[in-house]
């Protein structure tokens, strides 16, 4: 139902890097500094740019910088952006459509299934946590050696 992958992990590290000082940084710089696979990170950042979370500048002194206030971005939105980076086209790539939000939430809660109950809690959690709560200037950035995973 919920899958937070390495992409999310990498994206989070990159965001922390960018948030620290608000400066512009290239994918290569970020990747090398934190030991992330460069090519993969580039793809992830491309996706985040397509979703409007990052702004990009091409060319020699180019790179990525934050385009939105991280305090205004919920974990829900973030996961949606990262995990659905593939389809950069539309706003809503639909990969989180099953997790009802907003007006749908009431409808879901009313159906009262155990799965729906979990869904409800999950969405609430994801909406409450802001990316800024996780990624804050001054935090120590490091990538865990082992995967922080429940299973896989």
């Amino acid at each position: 139902m919920l899958c937070l992958s390495k992409k999310t992990e990498y994206a989070l590290v990159a965001l922390a890097h960018l948030a620290e000082g608000g400066r512009i940084a290239s994918a290569r710089e970020i990747a090398h500094e934190h030991g992330l696979p460069q090519a993969l990170l580039m793809n992830i950042l491309k996706g985040l740019q397509g979703h409007g979370l990052l702004a990009s500048t091409r060319g020699v002194k180019g790179g990525y910088r934050l385009a939105r206030d991280l305090a205004a971005v919920s974990l829900y939105d973030f996961v949606a952006m990262v995990e659905c980076a593939a389809q950069a086209g539309g706003e809503d790539c639909g990969c989180m459509e099953h997790l009802a939000v907003g007006p749908e939430l009431a409808r879901v809660a009313a159906s009262h299934g155990p799965v729906q109950a979990l869904q409800l809690r999950l969405v609430r959690f994801l909406n409450e946590v802001r990316v800024a709560d996780l990624v804050m200037p001054g935090r120590r950035i490091d990538v865990p050696l082992e995967r922080l995973m429940v299973k896989r």
Copy 2:
């Protein structure tokens, strides 16, 4: 980092079924009643039995029944049991070892990485929610037609 799969979903439905009246029920009965794949559900229930969440009785009038108070089981424990059902042997199959709990939590929080911050929130969430909060007698049980999923 976190992966709630169909197994979790099915297990939740089964638990709801068993909680409703506290009666014994066979895997076949549960599977047929809620349209779950029978063979798969059997495997899942076997796993939960191995972890002590369910008690089983063989034979004609046999089946599964709850063995623990669901109000005492956190979502964290539950996910660990379901997702790690494969290794029924030991208590701790280790698949959630990366998500620090208890005394480890402080250590994790101190390291202050963005990933650790997320980890912290996640573990808190998983520990706060009790299975009984999701699975309650009287709830309507139904399996969603579409997968309630964030991605996969």
